[in-house]
Amino acid sequence: MKILSGKIMNYKTLKIDNLDLFFNEIKKSGKNLLVTKKKGTTTYFSSFININDVDFNYIQTTISPKSVLFPKVEELISFKKDDGIYVMTEPNIEKETIVFGLRPCDAVGLEYLSNFFLNENSDFAVKLRKENTTLITLACKNFDENCFCTSVGLSPASTQGTDICLTDIGNGLFHVEIITDKGEKLIAEHSALFSNAEKINKENYVAQVPLKFDCDNFTKNIKDYYNSEKWVVNSLSCLGCGACAFVCPTCTCFDIEDETNLVCGTRLRCWDSCAFGIFTLHASEHNPKPMQSDRWRHRVLHKFYYSKTNMDTISCVGCGRCIRVCPAGMNILEQILDLQEA
């Protein structure tokens, strides 16, 4: 993954105690503020209500924040028969949204997702949502055995794809990096809470995630692995659900469903997964990817080869969500290491 070492526009300091005020001010200004909340053993994004509900210590949320750009279900267009005439309506996507607490890997994931949807045929819904969304990442102080961001060219200190990045530097302080104009605008609206700061060495304050594999080497050799038995052996436990694709920040596949009767209806877009048996099923009943191992291989190749060919970047950010959520113990990292083992 190319790290666009974006010029950091400005540095600030934010007292952690001032977060409550910051959040409440944002809420009062009518914007939709999403924060990380704990529920049992999982952390998820939810509307801010109270500072005490906010979880700062999670390693990673179960499900990615991609819903802010690409929701699990959305209405693309609706129609109604009025006086014998069909009237079409496009949905209203206007609310300004701030997302607080996503990880640096997620910001890169969302950047890939936006680029995917805003390509030649720019998606009007994703475009509008992206324009109305400000991201505030929280640098990772911890990681687990499923994280591998550094192996895909990223790091817990990365500022790629985000508007503002916060790093806990101890003594009740966040070091604030303002990356974009959008970030600058948000800080300016609450300038009293932020004090000026100098650049610091973030490496001293973020998690050090060990390298697990050589990604360039993997992508280069991936064609040679195509016929390996290891795809079959390692996918015997896969049961073909959509959990990995749905929690993934860069999975963009979708299905279009029309729900209509003779008088009114709606065209919906919803998440889809290449792991489902019927994902590639033709109307003739031919399936070019008939076995689960074909579909598993496709998923890994898409992340590490097909997206590199089509969009000049690999599309895995090493967040580890797919590994954590899999009901059957599938592990993309394990697969990659197994293939690379001579």
């Binding site: 699990k72 055995e145 299905d255 998440w271 590994i323 009901p327 113990g329």
Partner: protein, 267 residues
């Protein structure tokens, strides 16, 4: 556990099975399903409390079926699931060699499903009183509040179908949701569609579900599906006297007509 490892290796060496489904520790330290095809792989075998997944689900997979003779390490839930599947004619004779380890750590290789039926009868699973308390609490609420509870819970469903995928009893080659002539159940994860999916699945499971609660364990959104499975199980037992996963012969209350049925509408 050496006795178990030896037995699995022996089954593979003597060609009584060509693949054995068990557990092993994955790269990240978590226990996951293992598929042993050679005796020397069995050193990786894991047996213990961390082995949670109900492995019975794998007997349907075409990639597994092609091995013709399959061995499987079954905990009590997998045993019940396999017995129910056998009653539903989903398991060919001579397909499976089923192994369990009892509470005294003794390795048992079942000769047939009659032995499994006896074993299950001797190893009743205690009712989880906390779960029943939670269910009773929900039942004590007025209908509207109970509805609201499930609206809120099911609104977070993302229709990943992990619940369906992990369930040994969901083996339909074409699931109802995969049919679109007509579209019986909505595909997108809106509130109504999520209700349709979960209600339909529970109705298809009532009388067949053995309450392993894997669906609840694997749900990425932490939806308490185990409350539904526990309830349908106790309903089937109370109303029809039927408990899934206990007999070699099909005893399915919802599609069996008995001449002494006290309802007379069907006469």
């Amino acid at each position: 556990m050496q006795e178990l490892n030896n037995k699995i290796a022996e089954l593979l060496t003597n060609n009584l099975v060509s693949i054995f489904i068990s557990y092993k520790r994955g790269l990240n330290g978590k226990i996951k399903p293992a598929f042993f095809t050679k005796p020397d792989e069995v050193d990786e075998n894991y047996f213990g409390d961390e082995a949670q997944q109900n492995l019975a689900v794998y007997v349907h997979k075409p990639e597994v079926k092609k091995y013709s003779k399959v061995g499987i390490l079954a905990n009590i839930f997998a045993l019940k699931a396999l017995l129910q599947l056998y009653a539903e004619n989903q398991i060919k004779d001579n397909y499976l060699t089923i192994v369990t380890v009892n509470q005294d750590n003794k390795v048992i290789v079942f000769a047939d499903f009659n032995e499994i039926e006896s074993y299950i009868a001797q190893h009743q699973i205690e009712k989880n009183t906390d779960e029943h308390k939670e269910i009773d609490k929900l039942l004590s609420l007025p209908r509207e509040e109970r509805w609201e509870f499930w609206v809120e819970q099911l609104s977070s469903c993302i229709k990943c179908y992990a619940c369906r995928a992990i369930c040994p009893m969901c083996y339909c080659s074409k699931c109802t949701v995969e049919l679109n002539q007509p579209q019986w159940i909505s595909v997108p994860a809106h509130s109504l569609g999520n209700f349709e999916w979960h209600i339909m699945r529970m109705m298809h499971l009532a009388g067949r579900c053995i309450n392993c609660q894997e669906c609840s364990r694997v749900c990425p959104m932490d939806i308490p599906l185990h409350l539904l499975t526990t309830k349908i199980n106790s309903d089937m037992e109370e109303e029809f006297g039927q408990i899934a996963g206990t007999k070699t012969t099909l005893d399915f209350a919802l599609n069996t007509f008995k001449v002494d049925d006290y309802e007379n509408f069907i006469r």
